[in-house]
């Protein structure tokens, strides 16, 4: 009787409380990565794989929403001063680092001080950190960050690179040891890291958001061979595989245990023209020639034949998912007749010869795309001399100077705005930039300081029209991306910039 008297109420209380408390993280989620992350310290994470793999360990002050908008992170709210230069961040209280340290304003100033150290300047996120001019700790949970001039993208830079670092731990162990055993405030803690093989994370029990994470263990497996990744998702040895090509999708679609996740990628593919270096003084400087080339290429045909229709042709660098996209601009039609008329008008009735670089195997079917462009331009009398080059050599400074004067390339943009690819490819400061036009530089300068989102959208629209009439590129296409998950995965949604958050991803059973 005594047993029943004590045991029953205890049981009832336990059952009731189980229904009211938050669900504990459970199960193991295994994600296959196509390459080894460059680092587990997010400041050195320089590719999309590394960013996705390190992100679970850290929290930023703000983060991207699925539409590219800026959402609160460790900063619950913020205000921007009237002159657009000072941001006051109000930090979340009660947040702990994995080692028990408290997160506060001092941890935010550490990011900036650490990032600005000259010897760290090749850090991937140096730009993000250096975009702030000064930082003032107002109180334990308020910081004021000042930029030297109004910066339209300051909050994006904060989302990209301002991840909380534990000041005491970093000071105690130094950067080298920190890189081997990183500590953040993120939903997962690093448990074991075998570089090139596997990364094992465990749910952080004191994470500030009681609803996250959903899984107890998160494991990344590095499988560089695409065939093996395909096999591993079919056997259920991994739960998520990224970067599938369309052939893989056809194979997996028939598998009842696997779900295909499709999303449009914010990466434009294009053929660049040069008007500097070996492009100076060539036919490419004539706007009519560049328009003719845009008319000559059958981009619809390329998307249909080489990507089974899983992509969209584009009218410029500002694509439909970007801020300021103007739907009235339709991709150049495939019209070889008009192209030849334009060439004649430009003074090249018999066409001309020109060199074009192609990054061998750098992207899906890119070699075939290069050959298609060569064929289409050949049809209007432009004789393209194709130069294939392996990817490591292709993106070197020396090669950018020597290739072309036309070359095939692609560029992504991280947060729903085309600014980064426009700036990177059209501002003379960067060696990737091989087209110089003062009107474009001026327009980009205006966008860069337009803190107001609507005025920025209007500026993008104007620039898009200019770039449509004065194309520095043959605009080609954007592609849909495919990933696959096993049926037990819930809540997985990759972002258009090819990275993902794991906070809300769970597994059934």
């Amino acid at each position: 009787m005594r047993f029943i008297r004590y045991f029953l109420p205890t049981l009832v209380i336990l059952l009731v409380s189980a229904g009211t408390i938050h669900a504990q993280p459970s199960g193991e989620l295994v994600i296959a990565l196509p390459n080894d992350p460059t680092a587990m310290y997010i400041g050195n994470a320089s590719d999309v794989t590394a960013i996705s793999a390190t992100r679970p360990l850290y929290d930023g002050l703000v983060r991207y929403g699925a539409d590219g908008s800026i959402q609160p992170g460790l900063a619950q709210s913020w205000e921007i001063s009237e002159d657009g230069r000072t941001y006051t961040f109000h930090l979340r209280e009660g947040v702990k680092f994995h080692n028990g340290e408290d997160f506060n304003a001092h941890a935010v100033s550490t990011i900036w001080e650490y990032g600005m150290t000259p010897t760290n300047q090749w850090l991937s996120y140096y730009d993000s950190v250096a975009s702030a001019d000064d930082i003032v700790v107002v109180d334990d949970y308020t910081v004021e960050v000042t930029t030297s001039e109004p910066d339209a993208f300051f909050l994006s830079e904060v989302a990209n690179g301002w991840f909380a670092l534990p000041p005491a731990y970093l000071a105690e162990v130094g950067l080298e040891a920190f890189e081997a055993a990183p500590v953040g405030t993120g939903p997962f803690m690093l448990e074991n890291w075998a570089p090139g093989y596997r990364i094992e994370l465990r749910a952080f029990p004191e994470y500030w958001n009681p609803e996250q994470p959903k899984v107890e263990r998160l494991t990344f497996r590095i499988i560089s061979d695409a065939t093996t990744r395909m096999a591993a998702i079919q056997t259920g040895e991994v739960d998520i595989v990224t970067r599938l090509n369309t052939d893989d999708v056809v194979l997996l679609e028939t598998n009842p245990d696997v779900n295909i996740v499709t999303y449009p990628n914010d990466r434009v593919y294009y053929v660049a023209f040069k008007n500097v270096g070996n492009g100076a003084g060539t036919a490419l400087e004539n706007k009519l020639v560049r328009q003719a080339m845009n008319l000559a290429v059958d981009r619809e045909g390329i998307v249909a034949a080489l990507f089974s229709g899983h992509g969209q042709t584009i009218s410029g660098f500002v694509i439909p998912s970007n801020l300021g996209y103007d739907p009235s601009l339709q991709p150049y039609a495939h019209d070889p007749q008009q192209a030849m008329e334009l060439l004649t008008e430009a003074g090249y009735p018999d066409g001309f010869e020109i060199g074009m670089g192609c990054p061998t195997d750098a992207y899906t079917n890119i070699n075939e795309v290069c050959l298609s462009v060569q064929r289409d331009l050949g049809n209007i009398g432009i004789d393209v001399d194709l130069e294939f080059k392996s990817t490591n050599a292709y993106w070197s400074e020396a090669h950018y100077a020597a290739t072309g004067p036309m070359y095939v390339d692609s560029w992504s943009s991280p947060n729903g705005e085309a600014f980064w690819r426009l700036e990177g490819s059209l501002t003379p400061d960067y060696y990737y930039s091989t087209w110089t036009d003062p009107a474009i530089v001026d327009s980009l300068g205006q966008i860069a300081v337009a803190v107001d989102r609507d005025s920025r959208a209007a500026l993008y629209g104007e620039l898009s029209h200019y770039l449509y009439d004065n194309p520095p590129y043959i605009y080609l296409y954007v592609l849909n991306l495919f990933e696959a998950t096993t049926n037990r995965v819930t809540g997985y949604q990759p972002l258009p910039n090819e990275t993902f958050y794991t906070n809300d991803v769970g597994v059934d059973g």
Binding site: W122, Y197, D225, T228, E423
Partner: protein
């Protein structure tokens, strides 16, 4: 070797373009170059590298920010495990099969041996690896697809890596046995009335195994260095995948360190093979 490795890896690309963010300013690029010595003339870089290598210092990885030797030592056990397993598997099948097929030429077993010999030398190991994954991992679910978590994980990569060596050993043993069985001393033994089993075990086998010693040494080196494909396909965390990643990321110091390490290992192994050969075969000592 040092010269070849140093200059060929530099032909493959510029690490700055890969290590530094794409929007980095020229100053940031320069800071990276200076910090890693890429701003110095090639000849000067080479002398520095040579000096370090001779002192046993193989440098630090650009990408992983760790000493290369530490990375190599982390990965070496996995590669050794795979290479040893593949070698043992080759020997376990090739030795009995090669001898039997030599002793009974034209028999069904001989046919099998010749088939393995031919297949081993003609089927590309990376293709075989994919077929093994499709059949035994995806369709039959008998073995895991990738990784190195248990003994089971060793089976498919070891089979894929062993087949080439197995084929070569079978052919070598078969021809050695065929040759030896025509020797005078075998005929003498037969004339003395020694049984065929005793002849095979006491006279033919030990002599046929002698040329195998040098092949074992060479094949083991090949497995250590040549397992890049197999390790990559099976995501086996050895030197091969490390080399593959380092190469893809233009991590020059690491590529150099691994190739030099494997070369030094191969030279030592060849020396050991030669010494073993002398110990086993008295004729080699007399020459």
């Amino acid at each position: 070797m040092l010269v070849l490795v140093f200059f060929t890896v530099r032909l493959t690309g510029d690490p700055v373009g890969l290590m530094v963010a794409r929007n980095a300013t020229p100053e940031q690029r320069e800071a990276f170059r200076v910090a890693h010595g890429f701003d110095r003339p090639l000849a000067e870089q080479f002398v520095g590298y040579l000096g370090d290598a001779l002192r046993g210092d193989l440098g630090r990885s650009l990408r992983l920010h760790l000493p290369n030797m530490e990375l190599i030592m982390q990965r070496l056990p996995a590669t050794m495990e795979l290479a040893l397993a593949a070698l043992l598997l080759s020997l376990a099948i090739a030795v009995p099969l090669g001898i039997i097929s030599g002793v009974f030429p034209g028999s069904p077993l001989d046919l099998l041996a010749r088939l393995i010999g031919l297949a081993g030398q003609t089927i590309p190991s990376f293709w075989l690896a994919m077929i093994l994954i499709l059949v035994f991992a995806v369709n039959l679910r008998l073995f895991p697809t990738f990784g190195r978590d248990s003994l089971q994980h060793l089976v498919l990569p070891a089979v894929a890596l062993s087949v080439a060596s197995m084929g070569q050993m079978v052919r070598l043993l078969r021809s050695a046995v065929l040759e030896i069985t025509r020797e005078d001393y075998i005929r003498t033994a037969r004339a003395k009335g020694v049984s065929e089993i005793v002849i095979t075990l006491r006279h033919v086998t030990p002599n046929a195994l002698i040329p195998l010693v040098s092949v074992v040494g060479v094949n083991f080196t090949y497995m250590l260095g040549g397992s890049v494909y197999i390790e990559t396909i099976f995501a086996w965390p050895g030197l091969g995948t490390l080399l593959n990643d380092a190469f893809n990321d233009s991590d020059f110091p690491l590529v150099q360190a691994i190739t030099i390490f494997i070369a030094a290992f191969a030279i030592s192994l060849n020396l050991l093979t030669d010494i073993a050969y002398d110990l086993i075969d008295p004729r080699a000592r007399q020459r």
